[in-house]
Symmetry: C2
Subunit: 427 residues, 2 copies
Amino acid sequence: MKRLTGTNEEISAILYQEQLELSKENLNVEETVRDIIEEVKKRGDEALRDYSLQFDKIELDSLEVSQDLIDQAFDEVEPAVLSALENAKANIESYHRQQLETGFEDQPSAGVIRGQLIRPIDKVGVYVPGGTAAYPSSVLMNVIPAKIAGVKEIIMITPPQEHFVPAILVAAKLAGVDKIYQVGGAQGVAALAYGTETIPQVDKITGPGNIFVATAKKQVFGIVGIDMIAGPSEIGVIADASANAKYVAADLLSQAEHDVRARAILVTDSEELADSVEIEIERQLKELPRETIARPSVENNGRIIIAENIEDMFDLMNKVAPEHLEIAMDNAYDYLDKVQNAGSIFLGHYTSEPIGDYYAGANHVLPTTATSRFSSALGVHDFIKRIQYTQYDKVAVNAAEKDITTLAYAEGLQAHAKAIEVRNDKN
Amino acid sequence: MKRLTGTNEEISAILYQEQLELSKENLNVEETVRDIIEEVKKRGDEALRDYSLQFDKIELDSLEVSQDLIDQAFDEVEPAVLSALENAKANIESYHRQQLETGFEDQPSAGVIRGQLIRPIDKVGVYVPGGTAAYPSSVLMNVIPAKIAGVKEIIMITPPQEHFVPAILVAAKLAGVDKIYQVGGAQGVAALAYGTETIPQVDKITGPGNIFVATAKKQVFGIVGIDMIAGPSEIGVIADASANAKYVAADLLSQAEHDVRARAILVTDSEELADSVEIEIERQLKELPRETIARPSVENNGRIIIAENIEDMFDLMNKVAPEHLEIAMDNAYDYLDKVQNAGSIFLGHYTSEPIGDYYAGANHVLPTTATSRFSSALGVHDFIKRIQYTQYDKVAVNAAEKDITTLAYAEGLQAHAKAIEVRNDKN
């Protein structure tokens, strides 16, 4: 891992520039995606079948994944996986249920009622990648918050396969997906955004995907809502001399194995720990099946920063605003109030980041590339709308008339003023 | 106003297509904006001064609007306007304070702590248009929720003027803006997104603007957060025979006067009311100073739909998902539970929509073009981040090891599994 020195301002500026570079997609597929979306808008199901043949080399009988196939997946899935998914589901549910919002209402003065309704989004589409990137944990993380929000219909789409990974279908069923369609790529996103004969149009699309999927999501944004477009995964670890180098190294590598563009950053006030972590990383790397991914990730993108003291470590990490933040210190909990920017925090020597990826209950769909400065983990709040309401009776509107019409006339909007004045018997 | 007939599905599909057309911007300024942003990134303040000379024909002494100018605005502003702004501020504050969220924490099992922190965004930039589109009410609506969220620094930018509208500077001061800079257009947005020698880089940019501002906001999204990109304003009115045609017409016109692309939609189960509203619109139009805007708006974009019954009216309006929704019925409040999609609701015969634009307290920055299906009014929630945290002790992580590693191995992510196993003494 490369060591960086300088002020926190300097280091965070460098890390940010590097992160932007890592996030850049080299492929430009804007045009291709635009064409695919147009075809799906025009030809609906027929276009989906054609693209399936062209891209996935599969001739589809049915766009919908049948209940039979789902039942079969429950027969095929390993019992240990089923049980782990069930336990993860329970944890994710109990965490996210705490995010449920209620509306409010007040009566600030006579004749006035104001409030806010919470309404679930009506229909949500969840994209689930196919092949080796098919993660049942992501199915749970995307679907469960929508379900808790009260979304009426959850549609999952996933690229057609000769044989689906059973855990994907099982996770979908457990999480409460209503319908599964086998369609992937930009054409799948287009189907969800505009609807086809078979696939219902949704109001919001979430879930990860390749560059075609991400580009399609950007292009249909506005027609439907979308979740974030995530960059490569990141972990930032704040560790002091109390940290266990073996644990820290293992956690850094757990991010590094995702992607050669993934990044691991260690900030420590202990030179000794930094040295031990480096030795441990080398030792553990050699044992990793995914060494060919993890090694270039840590060697090219891994960074170590030696800080002066605790204040300095948190100040730097707040500037970095990492997706995942581990605080590998005794009494880590006591430092929570120093964190201003991070997607998800893992506290203490035993809270390895993969606990959060799979299990503890907090969401693993998180803001990357320093966007945790202004955005948050996926949650129930992403699947609801807040609708304002206001009621004034005659006395109240007449009482407010002078203030409102003064502002309306000052802004040159006379019809606004007249709509208030017309409610006064004098007019 | 044109009358539409058909099923709710048919009518809402037509209205949506029309709305998309109205939202289309004819100008393509992508390239120009990209160049401007690059110049500001490269040359900072100097570029801002050059653009000010080029676009605003003003040679700037200072980028910052001085405290003297702000004090002067308080001397110049009409007392009635000042007082109206103060009253509006109090209402907006008391409404939005109800949106404040608190974090949560639970201990779902021994050795496990999970929670969510609420943190304000650090720095926010608010764009305020210049000239005739300078609305002090928009300053209050953008700034107050950020202030209540606890944003540490709120920067306002607005195009340079020979003489600022006093109410704009007054509203900024009242709402709690920390600094005001006189820079507009795409260059202003670029300055906020990347920072210059004088203007601090912010984390999120909100506020309305012309096509250059909107395009710049889209281009810097990801580097900073942005609020929505609003389309033309809309009002939907659900009215039955109990409605007052004079009031309904006045409210429809109050939206129509915003913009020739603004749209007013009346849904009613009373043919008689529809007729009276049309007569009233014609009568009131003639008296309107902004008739040249309001007339093409209602004539081209205004729509009346006669519905069979109350269920039908709400069903259609939920499909339309209007920015503003008036329910002009006796006992309007009782129909709140029928509303699924709308930006802001105005209840009963006296709650004219301009009450919400200026005064009652709910926000007037609202989702347009049917995006209320998946998004909401600007609020305190747009200026906070939710940060998740998790803590497992040794016993807890060892107890969860089997489930977590089962899922990690199933997903082919061995380093994830090893990071858990390394915490077990057996390894």
